[in-house]
């Protein structure tokens, strides 16, 4: 899987920033409106860093990409992204033989990294509400013998449903919690960013793994 991670991140870096305006608008209603600038600057920096990590273990590629993002666009989302990538990478630290069986352990470790760094949990109206159902759906599909393509489709579908559920939630942590009940009715911007990222991963998976 070595450099494939970089190919996947390249697609994320290509496909998420064009949707920055959607993120900026959602974040202006719940946060401080910088999430659009954050994904644009952050993913640009991730892509610029690829030559340095090509050929390195997946754990290094993930960790260094995460840190590059936060260095360019330090923010709540930036440091969460960095924490997820570092913790996800630690699940396969130093290994050169990372494969499909590692996807769920990496995702679970990244998820725990997000929880620890953000001191938040599922139901608080955060990006966790998009990621948790996606990981569960992927794992379930994989366990029932589905292909990576099918499992990825299931994950994105579950993620999309999770993002929609954040609309009716009240923000319980961070900046958006200062809005209290006024946060109800707005889709969570961080959760939306996670969906955009997974949709980009999905497009890479469809383009590269459909014949397996």
């Amino acid at each position: 899987m070595a450099d494939e991670i970089l190919d996947i991140l390249q697609v994320v870096a290509d496909e998420v920033p064009p949707q920055a305006d959607t993120l900026r608008e959602l974040d202006a209603r719940l946060g401080d409106g910088d999430l659009g600038i954050t994904v644009t600057r952050g993913f640009a920096a991730v892509a610029i860093g690829f030559p340095e990590v090509r050929g390195k273990p997946v754990s290094d590629q993930l960790a260094r990409s995460g840190m590059a993002f936060n260095r360019a666009a330090a923010s709540t989302f930036g440091v969460l992204f960095a924490s997820a990538m570092m913790r996800g990478g630690m699940a396969v630290k130093g290994r050169d033989d990372v494969g499909q069986a590692d996807i769920v352990p990496i995702a679970r470790a990244a998820f725990q990294g997000l929880k620890d760094r953000g001191k938040a949990d599922v139901g608080d109206k955060t990006l966790l509400d998009a990621l948790a159902p996606a990981i569960d759906a992927f794992e379930e599909a994989q366990q029932s013998g589905k292909s990576v393509v099918e499992a990825t489709d299931a994950a994105v579908q579950a993620c999309r449903a999770g993002v929609k559920r954040t609309i009716d939630m009240q923000s319980k942590v961070s900046r958006a919690s200062w809005l209290g009940e006024r946060s109800i009715g707005v889709q969570d911007p961080g959760a939306t960013a996670v969906l955009f990222i997974l949709e980009a991963v999905q497009s890479w998976v469809h383009a590269n793994m459909s014949d397996e």
Binding site: S75, T76, R117, W178
Partner: protein, 336 residues
Amino acid sequence: MRKIINHPDNVEDETIAGLLAAFPNYLKRIDGTKRGLIRVDAPIQGKVAITTGGGSGHLPLFTGYVGKGLATGVCVGNVFSSPSAEDMLEVAKAVHGGEGVLFLYGNYSGDTMNFDMAAEMAEMEGLTVKTALGKDDVTSAPNEEMDRRRGVAGIFFAFKIAGAAAEEGRDLGAVHAAASQAAFNTRSMGVALSGTTIPAAGEPGFEVPAGEMEMGMGIHGEPGVKRGPLLTADEIAGDMLDRIIPDLPFSSGDTAAVLVNGLGATAPEELYILYNKASQILKDRGISVHKAFIGEYATSMEMSGASISVCRLDDDMAKLLDAPAHSPLLLQQVGG
């Protein structure tokens, strides 16, 4: 947007360049960092170092709090955005004088998450780090949810008191205790009369209609508690202290320090008019004012408005508040 700038993307770096050009005898940049600045005489061996940081757009906060008897180093973020954990780590390493590092900053999620990550990385490199947060804004969350409250201008007292404790040679535990106690004993409330524009965004993130004001609005435009017609200075001071005094609570017989802070576009005269009423109210409540600070201590670029902060003092805190301190950005005598 009407600002004296060159390009919206260069606002932060050109501000830092200007500060370094103006005060080469006070501040220097750490090699290899984008926005890490430290006291020119740092690291100071044998003394606890204080690292702070936060978004740009609040001068004299945070860079102006670097100085003798104050903070030792700062990392500067983009306007209203956190600096990165990596810059924080570099500042912590650069200021460390062998006695540990206190992270002291305002309670915003981007900052806390980046500083927490920096603290973990610093500890992996063998540094001892403790953290104290400013969370003085009474309107940002109920009293029983203090940990969700925002930090605003009242963090001034934590910088001054913890900075003096570090300068005096107290150990990290004692400097952390001084900062935490000053932060805990401080309560603030603000009022905004206009919005402000992040240069890179180009248009106001929020606005207050002409003739109106928003009580409790945060320094980045966070929602307040009440929007309505502009009240008189005496009414505003009364409303603020009605929320501040019962929140700690401050009681008759207490000694306190008071800060009336301008948000960037409010005239000093208006701050003294506010303080005139505030001092009368405190006197009527039996709270004695040890010292008053009036001026710009934490701004929000061109936002118009003000905040009042009150910090309850014991004898040790009063002594630390009075100790000498110096930063070229804090124009009013802050100690001595």
